[in-house]
């Protein structure tokens, strides 16, 4: 039996959040954390969490698993459980709606701030806009982001200034468009970023890289943005 401790908070019933313990029979199998949550929901249907694709591509079930942010559906017990104990808490730093569900509003707002869409002021051709494989390769490691918020909610700078620091996820997407050869709004994008909060709160602690379930590297992307800002200003 696996000991599982879950962060519980129900806005209609609880003044404050508390931890609740469950016992789950894993039959010795190396289940994913999400499977464990399903067993718990069978025991107590009031336990609430988000889930969708169950294969690590939709980004619904980001949560704090034994202290580390990750996707429940692709985190095997063998990689997180210590001393037969699993502690599940909501993503840090965002307001908790109920149990493991957080209000992602602030996170999405920062994503929207970077204008995460292609801007091109030239008339669209009758076919696609051409792009060499080398130009396209610059988007690798950027476009794969699934907006699970694991990175931003593992970032102390985002905890302290969620309304001002764009955070690793937003900045990764910002760079995804800065790096796209089809985008012509580079200067406008950079101008929007040159303040003391949006980009420069990154202190390179690498927790975003540490937790990203897709193995992406926002820290490096932020470095590239900084270099572009520097290049533009000097």
């Amino acid at each position: 039996m696996l000991n599982v401790s879950i962060y519980r908070y129900h806005p209609e019933q609880d003044e404050k959040p508390h931890m609740q313990d469950f016992q789950v029979d894993t039959s010795g199998k190396d289940l994913m954390v999400l499977d464990v949550l399903f067993s718990i929901k069978e025991q107590d249907s009031s336990v609430v969490f988000r889930r969708s694709c169950r294969e690590g591509v939709c980004g619904s079930d980001g949560m704090n698993i034994n202290g580390k942010n990750g996707l429940a559906c692709i985190t095997p017990l063998s990689s997180c459980v210590k001393k037969n104990k699993l502690v599940l808490r909501p993503l840090p730093g965002l307001p908790v709606v109920r149990d493991l569900v957080v209000d992602m509003g602030q996170f999405y707002k920062q994503y929207e701030k970077v204008k995460p869409y292609l801007l091109n002021d030239t008339p669209a051709p009758a076919i696609e806009r051409l792009q060499t494989p080398q130009e396209r390769a610059k988007l690798d490691g950027l476009y794969e982001c699934i907006l699970c918020a694991c990175c931003s909610t593992a970032c102390p700078s985002f905890w302290w200034n969620p309304d001002k620091f764009i955070g690793p996820a937003g900045l990764l997407q910002s760079y995804r468009f800065l790096a796209d050869s089809r985008d012509t709004a580079t200067q406008e994008r950079l101008a929007e970023l040159d303040d003391p909060f949006s980009v420069f709160r990154c202190h390179g602690i690498m927790n975003c890289v540490n937790v990203c379930p897709k193995g992406l590297n926002p820290t490096r992307a932020i470095g590239h943005i900084r270099n572009m800002l520097l290049d533009r200003a000097t």
Partner: protein, 115 residues
């Protein structure tokens, strides 16, 4: 774009660059002093004052002093905006830091040129 009027240069890039350049100056100054102390084990008052009487050293010290002022301000400003959320306290903290840096700089100039 997040606007802020209390930051050093009002531009993130500018603050960042100033922080790096001042760090470099302060780092060099520290190493310079450490090397001086290590190479003068039995240091006496004359050696010490004659070092600081040289114009290049005075200019170096002055650079370090100004760097210190900027470096501290940018660093502590960012600390204050991270951890101190109520506006009043944050502003107070920034005033104290600003005043302290002003005093240090005046004090430093006075002691460098005053002896």
């Amino acid at each position: 774009m997040v606007t802020s009027i209390t930051s050093f240069g009002r531009s993130g890039l500018y603050d960042w660059l100033v922080q790096r350049i001042t760090a470099l100056v302060l780092g060099c100054y520290t190493v310079f002093l450490v090397v001086f102390f290590l190479s003068n084990p039995g240091l006496n008052f004359q050696d010490w004052t004659s070092l600081h009487a040289q114009l290049p050293v005075r200019i170096f010290s002055l650079m370090a002093l100004f760097s210190l002022g900027a470096h501290c301000w940018i660093g502590l400003w960012s600390v204050s905006t991270d951890y101190i959320k109520p506006f009043g306290y944050r502003f107070l903290f920034q005033v104290v830091v600003g005043a302290a840096m002003f005093i240090y700089i005046v004090w430093g100039i006075q002691l460098l040129w005053g002896f």
